[in-house]
């Protein structure tokens, strides 16, 4: 929230503080100052004209001698305006000044005569939006040499303070000044005398002696009969309602001081009446609403809206009510959505003469809900959602009336209407020394504690070792002893808290099976040369489902998409059900930036919904493209085999039981129909790999050897591991034997290899592929297998080896259409 240093200074003397000091104090007390900006008009001072004579070379110009210091020679300024006279107090803008609109003032020669700056008009200074044809002539009392911003009180520093949501009491200049009065131990002062027709005392929760009043005249509240009735039907939602009629106000633009201050606090000026309601909100934290009294038909009713009833709001939104909204109505129509926005029909316009000002309290929850549902986040709804104190509603209303009289004239019509009640009572909290020490970790000086509580306007009583603290009515955030501890810590600062590592009590062991498993997977994949990607969990549903198609991904039916009810944009509107679309976007991004090699993996969650249950499943996905060529590797492989071996490797390292890669049916629209494999373990599909569908490459204008794959880790996690069994290495020598086969293209090699493995005698310790090439004979591949053979208790002879190998080869030739080369 934005605060004006000058405005705060009206309520508590800050003359001995720099804005930076104030910011530091607030920061130390838990009120973070997020920004600090100065509003200054340098090199613009008040001068007095000592002489005027015509410009020798220009008919329309004249030269003014302007004095800005009694003792120094006057400056010479060329001026085109006709209104200045000798002796006038004027605004002198010197070299270095920057006027609104980035108008930089420089010394320069105009038609041969030196001008040491300019004499500014109201428009040039931003004081008026219209050009009145002349320069700004100040009253004769204006002090020569003073800065204009000081004279007009427009030099200010704006503090952007983060107000925690529990400190509603600070959401106004008076509220923050009240806090500062406690923090700085300085009296709070009113630059005007607050008036309350009932008690005639103002109550901000500050003890009497600590508040000072100025001697400004009281606002005359004339007892006068209201000409219409106000009735509050929903006292739960509207616990307090007050209002005042005013006659014969003159709607018009706001005076400079009003406009300027609102502008500094980020609010655009509308007209004098609306600006005063804004002023009151910023000063008191009390939203007001002004109605055009002459548009009202009958009395004011505060009640629930009629279902399907409509209202054209001030912002031109046509609102349709549900029936649970609180509205302000007259006998015939809706006037305003309570606490949120006014209606167009009763709005203040240029023609308005008589007004009704409302100062009420509406329940936070209701305003919040209505504002959210209708998407109307106004300054008023924001304030009401946080909370408004009825204790000061009447004071704010009266202050508003007084200011309106000042800027728009008019007179009060009758006494203010008031309905509702509130209490200043607050629950007391008891705390003792031990509790303070135990939570803070050091000995808290009790006297200082009670002093601070008193400074914060709490009532404090001591009984034996117990301290009873009753916070002031506006501290709704102080309810339990922990709140008192926090309040102390905040006021005293945390630098007193010593540093101490706690001694650990032994904890029960956690079964972190899943986390450990995921960490192991991630490490293993990374060690195989993959780079970890992290993508958003939300995706563009259309793109996502276009990419995936409708078929199950690794045995998981996609199920209904899970949409966010309030996405930021449509391209992030649903939760992902596969990590591949995200990795594919990464691929496209990489390719656009000329990255022709990539090994990406992502380990993360996909989201599913069955019935009303949401499920989160762990996935591991890969996007692989290009090969790094080097001098040792002249014959790069298809990337799909890199991916396949990486997964084989991964499965070995996590001790997965035997797995198979198989062909499959079904459409994965992103995969090449002839180059894709399903990974199965114990009959269960746990993942797939494949080369990119060339159609997809073409659509996206990408080229290159691209493969991808995805594993369902939630399934893999629950598959039992192969048991580790140690085998003593044999001391006998081993023998290598190779066999080369011609295998037809339609016969897959893995089947041959598996056949050999299952038919080979126990002495054949290892069987592996050692050579593969195409082009020996059309339709065939030449494949060499190597056997590592080792006897179990004695060295095998050549003859024995042959007789071991024979039956297996015979069976192979019988079963498969292969030939020995």
């Amino acid at each position: 929230m934005l605060y004006s240093f000058n405005w705060l200074n009206e309520f508590i003397s800050l003359s001995d503080l720099q804005p930076q000091d104030l910011a530091q104090l607030l920061n130390e007390r838990g009120l973070e100052v997020e920004a600090l900006s100065s509003e200054k008009l340098d090199h613009v001072v008040i001068g007095q004209i000592t002489k005027i004579y015509p410009h020798p070379n220009a008919d329309k110009l004249q030269i003014c001698h302007v004095k800005k210091d009694k003792d120094q020679a006057p400056l010479s300024i060329v001026c085109g305006a006709k209104n200045p006279k000798t002796g006038d107090k004027v605004v002198l803008c010197l070299e270095g000044a920057v006027l609104p609109g980035n108008f930089k003032i420089q010394e320069r020669k105009i038609r041969g005569e030196l001008s040491q700056g300019i004499l500014a008009s109201k428009k040039e200074l931003g004081i008026s939006s219209e050009d009145d044809g002349g320069i700004f002539i100040l009253p004769t009392s204006a002090p020569i040499g003073s800065r204009l911003d000081e004279y007009l009180k427009t030099n200010d520093t704006i503090l952007d303070v983060f107000i925690p949501p529990n400190r509603v009491d600070l959401m106004s200049h008076i509220g923050l000044a009240r806090e500062l009065s406690s923090l700085l131990d300085k009296p709070f002062r009113f630059p005007f005398e607050p008036y309350h027709h009932k008690s005639n005392t103002s109550n901000l929760g500050i003890p009497k002696g600590q508040m000072k009043y100025s001697k400004s005249p009281k606002l005359p509240f004339v007892p006068y009969k209201n000409s219409f009735n106000v009735k509050v039907y929903e006292t739960d939602i509207c616990p307090y309602y007050s209002g005042q009629m005013m006659k014969d106000v003159q709607i018009g633009p706001s005076p400079y001081w009003l406009k300027k201050r609102l502008e500094l606090l980020g609010v655009n000026s509308v007209n004098n009446i609306v600006d005063i309601t804004t002023w009151i909100l910023l000063e008191w934290g009390q939203p007001l609403h002004a109605f055009d009294l002459d548009t009202l038909e009958g009395g004011i009713h505060v009640k629930k809206a009629k279902s399907k009833d409509q209202m054209l709001a001030l912002n031109e939104d046509q609102l349709t009510f549900r029936g649970d909204e609180l509205v302000i109505r007259d006998d015939k129509k809706n006037l305003a959505l309570a606490g949120v926005i006014g209606g167009k029909s009763s709005a203040i316009s240029d023609k308005t003469k008589n007004i009704f000002i409302e100062s009420a309290v509406f329940a936070p929850y209701d305003v919040r809900r209505t504002a959210r549902r209708l998407g109307l986040n106004t300054a008023s709804s924001f304030q009401f959602s946080r909370g408004v104190f009825p204790h000061t509603s009447m004071l704010a209303l009266q202050r508003a009336c007084s200011l309106i009289q000042q800027v728009a004239g008019g007179s009060l019509q009758g006494s203010p209407y008031e309905e509702g009640s509130f209490s200043f009572a607050q629950k007391s909290i008891t705390i003792n020394q031990e509790q303070l020490n135990e939570r803070l970790g050091y000995e808290v000086p009790l006297n200082e504690f009670t002093d601070w509580m008193k400074k914060m306007n709490s009532k404090v009583t001591k009984r034996f070792s117990n301290i009873k603290v009753t916070p002031p009515y506006y501290r709704k955030d102080v309810n339990i002893k922990e709140d008192l501890i926090e309040e102390w810590a905040r006021l005293k600062g945390y630098d007193f808290v010593p540093k101490e590592l706690p001694v650990f009590a032994p904890q029960k062991s956690l079964n972190n099976k899943e986390l450990n498993f995921l960490e192991r997977i991630k490490h293993t994949v990374k060690e195989q040369g993959y780079y970890q990607a992290i993508n958003y969990s939300f995706v563009d549903h259309t793109l996502h489902s276009e990419f995936l198609g409708e078929k199950p991904v690794a045995d998981i039916p996609l199920g209904p998409p899970i949409f966010l009810t309030n996405p930021i944009t449509q391209d992030l509107n649903s939760l992902r059900q596969s990590l591949l679309p995200g990795l594919f976007q990464n691929l496209l991004f990489n390719m656009r930036h000329g990255e022709d090699f990539g090994r990406l993996f992502e380990q993360g969650i996909s989201f599913f919904k069955t019935g009303n249950r949401f499920e989160e499943k762990q996935y591991l996905s890969f996007m692989v493209w290009g090969q790094k060529k080097d001098i040792w590797n002249s014959n790069p492989r298809p990337t799909l085999f890199d991916l396949k071996s990486s997964i084989d490797n991964l499965l070995t390292l996590i001790q997965a039981p035997d797995w198979t890669w198989t062909d499959f049916e079904g459409s994965f629209p992103f995969l090449h129909t002839k180059r894709r494999l399903l990974l199965k373990i114990q009959g269960q599909t746990v993942g797939f790999i494949g080369a990119i569908n060339p159609m997809l490459s073409d659509q996206n204008k990408i080229r290159g050897d691209i493969s991808m794959g995805e594993l369902n880790l939630s399934l893999l996690l629950n598959i039992p591991k192969t048991e580790f069994k140690f085998q003593k290495p044999s001391l006998l020598p081993s023998v290598k034997r190779d066999i080369s086969l011609l295998i037809p293209n339609e016969q897959n090699v893995e089947e041959i290899l598996n056949f050999m493995k299952s038919h080979a005698p126990a002495e054949f310790r290892q069987i592996s592929l050692v050579d593969y090439y195409e082009g020996v004979q059309k339709g065939f591949r030449s494949v060499s297998f190597r056997f590592i053979i080792q006897g179990s208790d004695k060295t095998l002879s050549e003859k024995q080896i042959s007789s071991l190998q024979q039956p297996m080869v015979k069976a192979l030739l019988k079963k498969y259409p292969v030939q020995i080369r």
Partner: protein, 343 residues
């Protein structure tokens, strides 16, 4: 006698052999199948039985002597041959080996692992929680009732009236308290989601780490000691900590904690905007309402909780200017983290 003659000639021939090949030929001539020694052996059977042992012994001695000379000569020749070969060797050692496999964790993952390990060494256990949360775990149980304005600060993605994407890792506090009774010390890193517009320092999907410590008589000084230890492990022993009063509904008292600046170490620089301090996260003593919501008696047990942003920490730690770079997953970005300093 023939013996001395043969030995001498053999020695001469062995000594004159220019290389190991020639040497071997000499050996074959004397000791091979058809060599001198074999023919001498054949003569043995022509001798009278009483002469045979002595002659046999002589042949044996001769054979051993030749073999010994051969072996010695072979050693010498081999040595010079290898030396010669080595001296003539050519291999350009400036050539690179095969391209290393590479591979790297995402910088955010690295920060998660680095920070986690600091706490797990202290005895904290790593746990996780769901990303889709209910209103209860994300808000109400954390002392943020439905109409609480604190909800304004964390703009939330909703899935339906009851389910949402967690806006912080704090729900894991409740889940852990429910599952594991105190005392406990856990950390919970993971993804969180807020409806923030994307810019250089905001992402709607980012990562946090939550810490929770519950025991008897826990104080702010324990919290400060723990986080001070953490910052020193992360940034070196000169790292300093500062607590600033703050507000969170689920801790009371609450604080924000800052570290002395990673770059200037407190002197003031552009990273810390001249303050010497960098904001790391929020912390505080667990609010009694939070303990009650998890059915833990706040009169018996107290604790502290802390949180920190992993993305932010990674930005600071690696000097990365824009959070969006994390989610582009570009190879030339990720490859740089192969050798990022960690552990």
């Amino acid at each position: 006698m023939k013996y001395q003659e043969i030995l001498k000639t053999a020695k001469d021939e062995l000594s004159q052999a220019p290389d190991t090949n020639a040497l071997y030929q000499v050996r074959v001539r004397y000791l091979g199948k058809n060599g001198t020694i074999t023919s001498l052996m054949k003569e043995l059977k022509n001798l009278s039985p009483e002469k045979r042992p002595a002659f046999g012994q002589q042949i044996n001695e001769l054979k051993n002597a030749i073999e010994e000379h051969y072996q010695n000569r072979k050693k010498t020749l081999k040595k010079s041959e290898i030396s010669h070969e080595v001296s003539k060797d050519f291999l350009d050692l400036s050539l690179p080996g095969p391209t290393p496999k590479g591979g790297a964790f995402h910088p955010i993952e690295q920060i998660i692992q680095k920070t986690s390990s600091i706490f797990t060494h202290l005895g904290y256990k790593k746990v996780s929680g769901p990303l889709i949360e209910t209103d209860w775990y994300n808000f109400s149980a954390l002392n943020i009732p439905p109409d609480h304005p604190s909800r304004d600060n964390q703009d939330t993605f909703y899935l339906d009236s009851e389910h949402l994407l967690r806006t912080h890792t704090s729900p894991v506090q409740i889940r852990s308290l429910e599952r594991l009774k105190p005392p406990l010390a856990i950390i919970a890193p993971g993804a969180v989601f807020r409806r923030d517009e994307i810019d250089s320092s905001h992402s709607p999907h980012f990562h946090q780490m939550e810490g929770l410590f519950i025991d008897r008589k826990v104080s702010m000084s324990h919290l400060k000691g723990t986080l001070s230890y953490f910052l020193k492990e992360l940034q070196g022993s000169s790292a300093k900590i500062r607590f600033r009063p703050s507000f969170f509904p689920f801790t009371e008292p609450s604080a924000e904690y800052d570290s002395s600046c990673f770059i200037c170490k407190g002197k003031g620089c552009s990273l810390c905007k001249g303050t010497g301090w960098i904001e790391i996260g929020g912390c505080g003593l667990v609010h009694p309402q939070v303990l009650k919501a998890s059915e833990v008696n706040p009169e018996k047990w107290q604790g502290f909780a802390f949180g920190m942003g992993m993305d932010r920490l990674a930005l600071l730690e690696y000097g990365i200017p824009d959070i969006r770079l994390f989610y582009e997953n570009r190879m030339s970005f990720l490859e740089q983290f192969e050798n990022a300093l960690f552990f």
